[in-house]
């Protein structure tokens, strides 16, 4: 029985980050227990399912049934409706996350990890200032299990890190209420991702329309917690948007969840525990996309954990700092930089948004690039412009 064993590693959460971590460490011969409170991995999906293709390939070889559609066009719709259409150099995919998440956990299992579902973790055990395992409820019965290292891959909820004393309070403007429907009977281009920006429609956020096919789409909205208005929830706002923009649409499914538009956490390791994925805020704070970055953090964390545990070194905070520094240096820095744009972008008023769209639409076709969208957006902010130039050279 898994409860009686002592594992090298316990991973809490079987999303893309946790599963990627479990697969990598288990395949190196470490004993890994993956716990998830879901009964079935991959359901429900709380996601728009968009990823950048190139980044994705660097992490997993895409299987055919993971991909719903290919994305090669980006369409930005300002408040006045005058759309800006841009061909993307970096193409993307709309995933079928239900199959994808499920397969990743299957891969982890095939690599040797023990996977237990319906297992809810509600505490970590701490001895001599070291996290030594987790406690929780499995099939209505309490359990307690030990390990050398615990991984908090528990998504936006992020309770595991907090149980271990890592401070990670969200500020209200950095957590977005997300609500999404899968709609059929819509008429869209199946290779285009649509973004609607408007303070009236989605204050502090945006509406996305991601195609599943030319007649079906994930239509979602994110609004900042800071912009809460009674009686005007994300759901109320999205329903009114869909009725107006896709008359005759049919709602096939509904999902929702918290979207992170935050700075990276300063501290993501402590004695015997580290955080990856949403739990570590490895999310693009402009778009809210976290699938790729979450898996990247898992790869860095796995490399460091394998090195420590295979060589009999203690997973102390001091030793785990290698992971934190690696993440910060290679990716976190970029998240931090993007966070500076986020505030500027989401503070634009509707007139400014219309103006930006108009300027971009005046550019000749070959100059309509994402880079120029950013350039024009930040024209009056030279300091930010410099940052963006550094960030987007090449796009």
């Amino acid at each position: 029985m898994w409860q009686q064993q002592k594992f090298d590693i316990i991973v809490v959460g079987g999303g893309p980050a946790g599963a990627t971590f479990a697969q990598r460490t288990a395949s190196k011969g470490l004993s890994v227990l993956l716990l998830d409170k879901k009964k079935r991995i991959g359901t429900p999906v709380r996601c728009g399912e968009a990823v950048a293709a190139e980044d994705f390939h660097a992490l997993h070889k895409p299987q055919k049934n993971w991909i719903r559609t290919n994305i090669n066009t980006f369409c930005l719709i300002p408040p006045n409706g005058d759309a800006v259409t841009i061909d993307l150099k970096q193409t993307g995919y709309i995933l079928n996350r239900s199959i994808f998440d499920n397969d990743l956990v299957k891969f982890a299992e095939q690599a040797g990890a023990t996977v237990v579902t319906n297992a809810y973790v509600n505490a970590v055990t701490i001895e001599d200032d070291f996290v030594t395992g987790v406690k929780g409820i499995w099939n209505d019965e309490p359990f307690s299990v030990q390990s050398k290292l615990v991984i908090g891959a528990d998504g936006v909820e992020g309770r595991i890190g907090r149980f271990a004393g890592i401070k990670s309070q969200f500020s209200l403007k950095d957590l977005i209420a997300g609500y999404e429907i899968t709609a059929s009977n819509v008429d869209i281009d199946k290779n285009t991702c649509y973004f609607y920006v408007s303070n009236k429609v989605a204050p502090g956020g945006y509406v996305w329309v991601f195609p599943r096919s030319s007649a079906e789409a994930n239509i979602g909205i994110g609004i900042s917690g800071k912009k809460y208005e009674e009686g005007n929830s994300a759901k109320v706002r999205l329903d009114s948007f869909s009725r107006k923009n896709f008359p005759g649409y049919k709602e096939e499914a509904v999902t929702m969840g918290g979207i992170i538009l935050a700075k990276p956490l300063k501290k993501i390791v402590t004695n015997g525990l580290l955080l990856i994925g949403d739990a570590a805020r490895t999310v693009d704070p402009v778009s809210g996309g976290g699938i790729i970055w979450g898996m990247k953090s898992a790869v860095y964390a796995a490399d460091v954990s394998i090195d420590l545990l295979k060589n009999g070194k203690e997973p102390s905070e001091a030793n785990l700092l290698d992971y934190q520094e690696m993440w910060m240096k290679n990716e976190g820095k970029q998240v931090k930089r993007l966070y500076r744009f986020k505030d500027a972008i989401y503070n634009l008023n509707d007139d400014q948004l219309n103006n930006i769209a108009r300027k971009i639409n005046k550019l000749p076709a070959h100059k309509k690039t994402l880079f120029n969208v950013f350039r024009i957006t930040f024209q009056n902010k030279p300091a930010l412009l410099l940052d963006i130039a550094k960030q987007f050279v090449g796009i």
Binding site: V156, R159, G178, K235, V236, T255, G257, G258
Partner: protein, 61 residues
């Protein structure tokens, strides 16, 4: 007193994420607030995507 409408709740966990007291327990289809810890800060109300959390006077409960 903060109350979650369990009939309407989708168990998405956004309230769990924002809760400064880490006092909301969310199993797959079960959600509970630990009232010993809750400070009625209402942040959970502001982030709920479908507004199924409310602050009701103790007398109404």
């Amino acid at each position: 007193m903060i109350v979650i409408d369990k009939e309407e709740c989708d168990y998405c966990g956004t309230c769990v994420a924002i809760c400064p007291e880490n006092c909301i327990d969310l199993l797959e289809q079960e959600i509970d607030i630990d009232y010993d810890l809750c400070t009625e800060c209402k942040l959970c109300i502001y982030v709920c995507p479908i507004e199924v959390i409310s602050d009701v006077a103790a007398a109404e409960v």
